[in-house]
Amino acid sequence: MSTARPGGRIGSALGIPLRAARLAMDGVRAEPAGLVVAAGFYLVVALALSGVWRSAAEASGGSIVGYSTTALVWYIATSEAAVMSLPFRLIDDIGVDIGSGRFASEMLRPASALAVRVGGELGRLVPRLAAIGATGVALGLLTGGRPPDAAALALALPALLLALATNLLAQHAFAAIAFWVLDARSTWFLYQKLVFVLGGMLLPLEVLPDPVAAVARLLPFSAMAYVPARLASGHFEPELLLVQAFWLVAIGFVAHLVFRAGERHLVVEGS
């Protein structure tokens, strides 16, 4: 069991989450079988979905809503990587920890419990993203061919990191419902579906009817899958990174406020 080094308030506030990140990263790296499964599952999902869109593009004369077959493969490879690099049931897990009282014990640390949790998840994310990202690039090259635009693909990497960080914070903000609702376990299904459709994980937002697509672009979910996928599919639109940065800050702030309110409200039912 690790202990925090004594230090100033600021040192603890940053040091403990960083230490949590490092420990979590080491934990994931020590279990390579888990990484293989994650990459394998990603491969299955991305293969299946990109196959569906390739068939659709072929049936429509080689492109659909402005995306060529190659662009669609890179779109799906990236959108799936953006979502699948994070644990599926994170919202459920956080809810269980809040409901069981485990989260209350984390509040005893001399650092923000939210920051420590986010730090740990970021640490877990790094090796998963490396495994899934490498698989995604191989999938894109082998089934789609060369990426449509190298400059846009270069932008997709920071966009992917911003997408993951935004999604991570949003899941924490969403899971905070467990502070007030005892049985919020299944709400992760709903969150997931919002990212799937309005976030553009299953389909480019251009496929949606125009009014729905316009609304989807105004919501934070598009920053979590659509933006990096749009860039990787050859659309050089650097302004999309600014949209992501905005949502990262906004959702981070909301998560901070909701957790602070939740911690005040917390009633431990026994653990």
Partner: protein, 255 residues
């Protein structure tokens, strides 16, 4: 048989103990399933037909999938935990009971959220599957076969933990069969299609039953029934053979 019926009945009552939570979770799954229907509606709004599949056929495919997956993952939800129970030595509690271990495990736990699928699938077929007596009979036949195949395959995958001592293969098999079953098999490339008919029987879980509802073929119906019997039998054989290798975890569990 009576013991198993009572076991399942108590699992069902346990799942329904908190009524509001039960219906909330059922509703969540129904909404979840509806999102997939929205996805397919949007998809076929852009392309009328892909490799012989249109929206109506995909709706039948999805009705078969949700009903059979709901029956397996909802009403026999421990089927997903076989690998975990084996690798953690958690079968001890079952082995001392005077009932067949596999049947007991399968009937011991009900997963509420997947019960939503059991409601959704038949309702979807009734509302959008153009039911008539023949189509309904074939739909029921397809669901029965799909349920047997899905259950048998998951038991086989879970039983790999007897050999490997780990649960990862079972996990991957679970995700793969469900995922590949979610899309019409003809959308995949030739090699993948062979794989989905011969290795992971996803084609027989949804695509073949859905096609039978549209265009019934006695030959394909017989093949589907045969695959269902074989895969279910393989599940039983794999679990029985695996039990001979099982070594106790010396831990009392909640299997």
């Amino acid at each position: 048989m009576r013991a198993l019926r009572l076991t399942w009945s108590s699992a069902w009552q346990e799942a329904r103990a908190n009524r509001s939570s039960f219906w909330f979770q059922v509703a969540i799954m129904v909404v979840n399933d509806l999102v997939w229907i929205v996805f397919w509606a949007l998809f076929f709004n852009r392309v009328d037909q892909v490799r012989g599949w249109d929206l109506d056929q995909v709706i039948v495919l999805f009705a078969v999938l949700t009903t059979s997956a709901g029956l397996v993952l909802g009403l026999m939800s421990n089927v997903r935990r076989i690998g975990e129970l084996v690798s953690s030595g958690g079968l001890d509690a079952v082995l001392v009971l005077p009932v067949p271990p596999l049947s007991h495990i399968l009937s011991r736990r009900v997963e509420t959220v997947h019960v939503g699928d059991v409601f959704f699938g038949p309702l979807l077929f009734a509302l959008a599957g153009h039911p008539n007596p023949t189509r309904t009979a074939v739909f029921v036949f397809g669901v029965v076969c799909a349920t047997l195949i899905l259950c048998g395959f998951l038991v086989v995958m879970g039983s790999t933990a007897f050999l490997l001592g780990r649960n990862e293969a079972a996990d991957l098999g679970f995700h793969a069969v469900l995922l590949f079953s979610s899309y019409p098999v003809d959308l995949y490339g030739a090699m993948t299609r062979v794989f989905l008919y011969a290795v992971i029987p996803a084609a027989f879980v949804t695509s073949v039953p859905a096609r039978l509802v549209e265009h019934f073929s006695p030959g394909w119906a017989a093949a589907t029934a045969a695959v269902a019997v074989v895969v279910a039998g393989l599940g039983l054989a794999a679990f029985t053979a695996g039990l001979r290798r099982y070594t106790s975890g010396a831990a009392w569990s909640s299997a």
